[in-house]
Protein backbone atom coordinates (compact mmCIF):
# COMPACT_ATOMS: atom_id res chain seq x y z
CA UNK A 1 0.00 0.00 0.00
CA UNK A 2 1.44 3.39 -0.91
CA UNK A 3 2.43 5.59 1.98
CA UNK A 4 0.72 8.96 1.50
CA UNK A 5 1.18 12.13 3.54
CA UNK A 6 -1.59 14.74 3.34
CA UNK A 7 -0.05 18.04 4.45
CA UNK A 8 -2.58 20.59 5.69
CA UNK A 9 -5.26 17.92 5.51
CA UNK A 10 -7.98 19.95 7.21
CA UNK A 11 -11.26 18.23 8.07
CA UNK A 12 -11.29 16.10 4.86
CA UNK A 13 -8.17 13.95 4.90
CA UNK A 14 -7.22 12.08 1.71
CA UNK A 15 -8.42 8.45 2.14
CA UNK A 16 -5.71 6.13 3.42
CA UNK A 17 -3.19 8.89 4.06
CA UNK A 18 -1.44 10.19 7.15
CA UNK A 19 -2.86 13.63 7.81
CA UNK A 20 -0.74 16.52 9.05
CA UNK A 21 -2.14 19.87 10.12
CA UNK A 22 -1.34 22.64 12.59
CA UNK A 23 -4.98 22.86 13.64
CA UNK A 24 -6.14 20.20 16.14
CA UNK A 25 -9.77 20.69 15.02
CA UNK A 26 -9.07 18.69 11.84
CA UNK A 27 -8.73 15.05 10.79
CA UNK A 28 -4.95 15.28 11.35
CA UNK A 29 -2.97 12.32 12.71
CA UNK A 30 0.06 14.51 13.33
CA UNK A 31 -0.01 18.11 14.56
CA UNK A 32 2.87 20.17 13.21
CA UNK A 33 3.41 23.70 11.92
CA UNK A 34 5.06 23.97 8.51
CA UNK A 35 6.65 27.33 9.34
CA UNK A 36 8.23 26.13 12.58
CA UNK A 37 11.03 23.80 11.58
CA UNK A 38 10.82 20.35 10.10
CA UNK A 39 8.27 17.72 9.23
CA UNK A 40 8.41 15.03 11.93
CA UNK A 41 9.28 12.21 9.51
CA UNK A 42 12.47 10.50 8.36
CA UNK A 43 13.91 10.97 4.88
CA UNK A 44 12.12 9.08 2.09
CA UNK A 45 9.16 8.11 4.28
CA UNK A 46 6.45 8.57 1.65
CA UNK A 47 5.55 7.47 -1.86
CA UNK A 48 3.30 10.46 -2.29
CA UNK A 49 2.87 13.81 -0.61
CA UNK A 50 -0.27 15.86 -1.12
CA UNK A 51 -0.69 19.53 -0.31
CA UNK A 52 -4.04 21.00 -1.28
CA UNK A 53 -4.32 24.74 -0.75
CA UNK A 54 -1.27 24.81 1.51
CA UNK A 55 1.70 26.24 -0.36
CA UNK A 56 0.13 29.71 -0.75
CA UNK A 57 0.02 30.00 3.07
CA UNK A 58 3.58 29.09 4.08
CA UNK A 59 6.20 31.64 5.11
CA UNK A 60 8.94 30.22 2.89
CA UNK A 61 7.99 28.23 -0.21
CA UNK A 62 11.50 27.04 -1.03
CA UNK A 63 12.24 25.78 2.49
CA UNK A 64 8.85 24.04 2.58
CA UNK A 65 9.36 22.38 -0.83
CA UNK A 66 12.81 21.20 0.30
CA UNK A 67 11.17 19.57 3.31
CA UNK A 68 8.49 17.95 1.08
CA UNK A 69 11.33 16.66 -1.13
CA UNK A 70 13.22 15.25 1.87
CA UNK A 71 10.37 13.12 3.23
CA UNK A 72 9.29 11.84 -0.21
CA UNK A 73 11.25 8.96 -1.76
CA UNK A 74 13.14 9.24 -5.03
CA UNK A 75 10.63 8.82 -7.84
CA UNK A 76 7.76 9.61 -5.44
CA UNK A 77 5.10 12.15 -6.30
CA UNK A 78 4.30 15.55 -4.82
CA UNK A 79 0.80 16.72 -5.68
CA UNK A 80 -0.03 20.38 -5.04
CA UNK A 81 -3.23 22.33 -5.59
CA UNK A 82 -3.13 26.11 -5.31
CA UNK A 83 -5.10 29.08 -6.73
CA UNK A 84 -3.91 30.78 -9.88
CA UNK A 85 -3.07 34.39 -9.08
CA UNK A 86 -5.80 35.70 -11.37
CA UNK A 87 -8.51 33.91 -9.41
CA UNK A 88 -10.49 35.78 -6.84
CA UNK A 89 -9.90 32.96 -4.32
CA UNK A 90 -6.21 33.94 -4.25
CA UNK A 91 -7.30 37.22 -2.65
CA UNK A 92 -10.17 35.94 -0.59
CA UNK A 93 -8.21 34.48 2.29
CA UNK A 94 -6.27 36.96 4.44
CA UNK A 95 -3.64 34.31 5.18
CA UNK A 96 -2.60 33.82 1.54
CA UNK A 97 0.96 35.10 1.35
CA UNK A 98 1.72 34.17 -2.24
CA UNK A 99 -0.05 34.63 -5.54
CA UNK A 100 1.25 32.05 -7.99
CA UNK A 101 1.09 31.10 -11.65
CA UNK A 102 1.87 28.02 -13.73
CA UNK A 103 5.60 28.84 -13.77
CA UNK A 104 5.99 29.38 -10.04
CA UNK A 105 7.92 26.16 -9.38
CA UNK A 106 10.57 26.35 -12.12
CA UNK A 107 13.30 26.83 -9.49
CA UNK A 108 13.01 23.13 -8.76
CA UNK A 109 13.04 21.80 -12.34
CA UNK A 110 16.19 20.35 -13.85
CA UNK A 111 17.07 22.85 -16.54
CA UNK A 112 14.92 25.55 -14.93
CA UNK A 113 12.82 27.29 -17.53
CA UNK A 114 15.24 28.15 -20.31
CA UNK A 115 17.59 25.19 -20.02
CA UNK A 116 19.68 26.66 -17.24
CA UNK A 117 19.44 25.38 -13.67
CA UNK A 118 18.37 27.92 -11.06
CA UNK A 119 20.56 28.35 -8.00
CA UNK A 120 18.03 29.17 -5.27
CA UNK A 121 17.81 25.55 -4.18
CA UNK A 122 19.68 22.30 -4.81
CA UNK A 123 16.52 20.25 -4.57
CA UNK A 124 15.19 18.94 -7.89
CA UNK A 125 11.81 17.65 -9.02
CA UNK A 126 10.21 17.23 -12.41
CA UNK A 127 6.79 18.57 -13.37
CA UNK A 128 5.10 15.43 -14.68
CA UNK A 129 1.59 16.83 -14.85
CA UNK A 130 -0.07 20.20 -14.67
CA UNK A 131 -3.76 20.83 -14.98
CA UNK A 132 -5.14 24.36 -14.99
CA UNK A 133 -8.77 24.99 -14.15
CA UNK A 134 -10.52 28.10 -15.40
CA UNK A 135 -13.80 29.66 -14.32
CA UNK A 136 -16.98 27.94 -15.52
CA UNK A 137 -17.74 30.39 -18.29
CA UNK A 138 -14.26 30.12 -19.83
CA UNK A 139 -14.29 26.36 -19.50
CA UNK A 140 -17.60 26.22 -21.36
CA UNK A 141 -16.07 28.33 -24.13
CA UNK A 142 -13.21 25.86 -24.55
CA UNK A 143 -10.38 27.93 -23.07
CA UNK A 144 -9.59 25.44 -20.32
CA UNK A 145 -9.08 22.75 -22.93
CA UNK A 146 -6.74 24.98 -24.93
CA UNK A 147 -4.67 26.07 -21.93
CA UNK A 148 -4.08 22.44 -20.96
CA UNK A 149 -3.73 21.22 -24.54
CA UNK A 150 -0.56 23.00 -25.52
CA UNK A 151 2.36 24.54 -23.69
CA UNK A 152 2.50 27.28 -26.26
CA UNK A 153 -1.09 28.33 -25.68
CA UNK A 154 -0.62 28.20 -21.91
CA UNK A 155 2.29 30.59 -22.19
CA UNK A 156 0.28 32.89 -24.44
CA UNK A 157 -2.59 32.77 -21.96
CA UNK A 158 -0.31 33.60 -19.00
CA UNK A 159 1.26 36.51 -20.88
CA UNK A 160 -1.70 38.00 -22.71
CA UNK A 161 -5.07 36.63 -21.68
CA UNK A 162 -5.13 35.67 -18.02
CA UNK A 163 -6.47 38.95 -16.59
CA UNK A 164 -9.50 38.58 -18.85
CA UNK A 165 -9.87 34.81 -19.20
CA UNK A 166 -9.14 34.34 -15.53
CA UNK A 167 -7.68 31.19 -14.02
CA UNK A 168 -8.98 29.28 -11.04
CA UNK A 169 -6.83 26.43 -9.76
CA UNK A 170 -3.60 24.74 -10.69
CA UNK A 171 -2.94 21.07 -9.96
CA UNK A 172 0.74 20.20 -10.13
CA UNK A 173 2.24 16.73 -9.95
CA UNK A 174 5.99 16.65 -9.42
CA UNK A 175 8.27 13.63 -9.48
CA UNK A 176 10.99 13.76 -6.85
CA UNK A 177 14.55 13.45 -8.16
CA UNK A 178 17.25 12.39 -5.68
Amino acid sequence: MPRILDVGCGPAKYPGSIGLDMNPATAADVIAHLDKGFLPFRDNSFDELRGEHVIEHVADIIATMEEFHRVTRSGGKIYLVTPHYTDFSSFRDPTHRWHLNTYSFIYFYPGGMHGRDMWYTKVRMKEVKLHVKLLKMWKALGFEFLVNHSRFFRQFWEHYLSFLIRGKLMEFTFEVIK
Binding site: G10, P11, N23, P24, A25, T26, T86, D87, F88, F91, R92, D93, P94, T95, H96, R97, H99, L135, M137, F163, L164, R166
Partner: protein, 175 residues
Protein backbone atom coordinates in the same frame (compact mmCIF):
# COMPACT_ATOMS: atom_id res chain seq x y z
CA UNK B 1 -18.81 60.60 24.54
CA UNK B 2 -17.98 57.55 22.52
CA UNK B 3 -14.41 56.41 22.92
CA UNK B 4 -12.84 55.70 19.53
CA UNK B 5 -9.44 54.15 18.94
CA UNK B 6 -7.63 55.04 15.71
CA UNK B 7 -4.88 52.46 15.10
CA UNK B 8 -2.09 53.68 12.83
CA UNK B 9 -3.64 57.14 12.88
CA UNK B 10 -0.82 58.90 11.01
CA UNK B 11 -1.39 62.62 10.49
CA UNK B 12 -5.08 62.37 9.82
CA UNK B 13 -6.33 61.18 13.17
CA UNK B 14 -10.08 60.62 13.36
CA UNK B 15 -11.65 63.62 15.19
CA UNK B 16 -11.99 62.95 18.90
CA UNK B 17 -10.25 59.56 18.71
CA UNK B 18 -7.30 58.27 20.69
CA UNK B 19 -4.55 57.79 18.14
CA UNK B 20 -1.94 55.01 18.18
CA UNK B 21 1.03 55.02 15.84
CA UNK B 22 4.68 53.98 15.64
CA UNK B 23 5.92 57.30 14.34
CA UNK B 24 6.46 60.35 16.57
CA UNK B 25 5.78 62.48 13.47
CA UNK B 26 2.14 61.39 13.61
CA UNK B 27 -0.71 62.79 15.67
CA UNK B 28 -0.58 59.76 17.95
CA UNK B 29 -1.50 60.02 21.59
CA UNK B 30 0.18 56.69 22.26
CA UNK B 31 3.39 55.53 20.55
CA UNK B 32 3.87 51.77 20.36
CA UNK B 33 4.27 48.81 18.04
CA UNK B 34 0.54 48.27 17.65
CA UNK B 35 1.07 45.22 15.42
CA UNK B 36 1.91 43.09 18.46
CA UNK B 37 -0.33 44.20 21.32
CA UNK B 38 -2.43 47.25 22.10
CA UNK B 39 -1.65 48.93 25.46
CA UNK B 40 -5.29 49.13 26.57
CA UNK B 41 -7.54 47.13 28.85
CA UNK B 42 -10.27 44.76 27.65
CA UNK B 43 -13.56 46.25 26.41
CA UNK B 44 -12.34 49.87 26.50
CA UNK B 45 -13.56 51.32 23.20
CA UNK B 46 -16.90 51.94 21.50
CA UNK B 47 -15.26 51.95 18.09
CA UNK B 48 -11.94 50.98 16.51
CA UNK B 49 -10.63 52.33 13.21
CA UNK B 50 -7.96 50.68 11.08
CA UNK B 51 -7.51 52.80 7.99
CA UNK B 52 -5.00 51.50 5.46
CA UNK B 53 -3.05 49.47 7.98
CA UNK B 54 -4.40 45.91 7.81
CA UNK B 55 -2.55 45.27 4.50
CA UNK B 56 0.77 45.90 6.27
CA UNK B 57 0.61 43.82 9.44
CA UNK B 58 2.37 40.49 9.95
CA UNK B 59 -0.69 38.64 11.08
CA UNK B 60 -4.14 39.96 10.23
CA UNK B 61 -5.97 37.61 12.58
CA UNK B 62 -3.78 38.57 15.52
CA UNK B 63 -4.52 42.23 14.80
CA UNK B 64 -8.26 41.53 14.63
CA UNK B 65 -8.07 39.55 17.88
CA UNK B 66 -6.39 42.52 19.62
CA UNK B 67 -8.95 44.98 18.24
CA UNK B 68 -11.68 42.61 19.43
CA UNK B 69 -10.17 42.49 22.90
CA UNK B 70 -9.99 46.26 23.44
CA UNK B 71 -13.43 46.89 21.90
CA UNK B 72 -16.70 46.62 23.79
CA UNK B 73 -19.35 44.10 22.82
CA UNK B 74 -21.30 45.56 19.91
CA UNK B 75 -18.57 48.06 19.00
CA UNK B 76 -17.89 48.65 15.32
CA UNK B 77 -14.43 47.97 13.91
CA UNK B 78 -13.97 49.93 10.70
CA UNK B 79 -11.36 48.64 8.24
CA UNK B 80 -10.34 50.36 5.01
CA UNK B 81 -7.81 48.74 2.67
CA UNK B 82 -6.98 48.79 -1.06
CA UNK B 83 -8.74 46.28 -3.27
CA UNK B 84 -6.24 43.84 -4.81
CA UNK B 85 -6.99 45.12 -8.30
CA UNK B 86 -6.09 48.72 -7.45
CA UNK B 87 -2.63 50.03 -8.20
CA UNK B 88 -2.46 51.28 -4.59
CA UNK B 89 -2.29 47.68 -3.42
CA UNK B 90 1.10 47.42 -5.15
CA UNK B 91 2.44 50.96 -4.63
CA UNK B 92 3.91 50.36 -1.21
CA UNK B 93 6.57 47.71 -0.64
CA UNK B 94 5.25 47.48 2.92
CA UNK B 95 1.99 45.94 1.70
CA UNK B 96 2.07 42.27 2.64
CA UNK B 97 -1.49 41.35 1.79
CA UNK B 98 -3.69 41.91 -1.23
CA UNK B 99 -7.32 41.67 -0.22
CA UNK B 100 -10.73 41.44 -1.83
CA UNK B 101 -14.22 42.40 -0.70
CA UNK B 102 -14.75 38.84 0.56
CA UNK B 103 -11.58 38.61 2.66
CA UNK B 104 -13.58 38.69 5.92
CA UNK B 105 -16.70 36.96 4.67
CA UNK B 106 -16.27 33.96 6.97
CA UNK B 107 -16.72 35.97 10.19
CA UNK B 108 -20.46 36.02 9.60
CA UNK B 109 -20.73 32.30 9.05
CA UNK B 110 -17.60 30.78 10.53
CA UNK B 111 -16.96 27.03 10.09
CA UNK B 112 -15.92 25.41 13.39
CA UNK B 113 -12.33 24.69 12.36
CA UNK B 114 -11.75 28.42 11.62
CA UNK B 115 -11.86 29.28 15.34
CA UNK B 116 -8.29 28.05 15.47
CA UNK B 117 -7.08 30.65 12.98
CA UNK B 118 -9.45 33.51 13.77
CA UNK B 119 -10.59 33.17 17.38
CA UNK B 120 -12.24 36.61 17.58
CA UNK B 121 -15.96 36.74 16.80
CA UNK B 122 -17.23 39.46 14.52
CA UNK B 123 -20.32 39.99 12.45
CA UNK B 124 -19.78 41.50 9.02
CA UNK B 125 -22.29 44.37 9.14
CA UNK B 126 -21.40 46.26 6.02
CA UNK B 127 -19.02 45.96 3.10
CA UNK B 128 -18.61 48.84 0.68
CA UNK B 129 -16.46 48.83 -2.41
CA UNK B 130 -15.22 51.98 -4.04
CA UNK B 131 -14.33 51.86 -7.73
CA UNK B 132 -12.32 54.27 -9.85
CA UNK B 133 -14.12 57.43 -10.93
CA UNK B 134 -14.91 56.34 -14.49
CA UNK B 135 -16.53 53.13 -13.32
CA UNK B 136 -18.42 54.96 -10.63
CA UNK B 137 -19.75 57.43 -13.19
CA UNK B 138 -20.91 54.49 -15.32
CA UNK B 139 -22.87 53.06 -12.42
CA UNK B 140 -20.72 50.03 -11.64
CA UNK B 141 -20.00 51.09 -8.07
CA UNK B 142 -23.71 51.33 -7.40
CA UNK B 143 -24.29 47.84 -8.78
CA UNK B 144 -21.38 46.25 -6.93
CA UNK B 145 -22.62 47.60 -3.61
CA UNK B 146 -26.25 46.95 -4.36
CA UNK B 147 -26.31 43.15 -4.61
CA UNK B 148 -23.99 40.57 -3.08
CA UNK B 149 -24.34 38.25 -6.06
CA UNK B 150 -23.28 41.03 -8.41
CA UNK B 151 -20.31 41.84 -6.21
CA UNK B 152 -19.30 38.19 -6.40
CA UNK B 153 -19.68 38.12 -10.18
CA UNK B 154 -17.65 41.31 -10.38
CA UNK B 155 -14.88 39.79 -8.22
CA UNK B 156 -14.74 36.61 -10.31
CA UNK B 157 -15.11 37.92 -13.82
CA UNK B 158 -14.83 41.69 -14.11
CA UNK B 159 -12.52 43.16 -11.50
CA UNK B 160 -9.31 43.16 -13.54
CA UNK B 161 -11.05 45.40 -16.08
CA UNK B 162 -13.58 47.33 -13.98
CA UNK B 163 -10.97 47.71 -11.27
CA UNK B 164 -11.63 48.31 -7.60
CA UNK B 165 -10.13 51.04 -5.46
CA UNK B 166 -10.79 50.53 -1.76
CA UNK B 167 -12.90 48.24 0.37
CA UNK B 168 -14.46 49.35 3.62
CA UNK B 169 -15.82 46.99 6.26
CA UNK B 170 -17.83 47.55 9.37
CA UNK B 171 -17.34 44.53 11.60
CA UNK B 172 -19.43 44.31 14.74
CA UNK B 173 -17.66 42.92 17.80
CA UNK B 174 -19.44 39.88 19.25
CA UNK B 175 -18.36 38.89 22.77
Amino acid sequence: MARILDIGCGRGKYPGAIGVDMSPASQADVLCDWTKTLPFGDSTFDGVRMIHIIEEVDDIFRMLAEAHRVAKNGAIVTIVTPHYTDHASYCSPAHRWHLSSFSFWFFSDKPAQYDYYAPANYREKRVRVELLRIWRALGFQFLVNRARWFRKFWEYYMSFVIRGKTVQWELEVVK
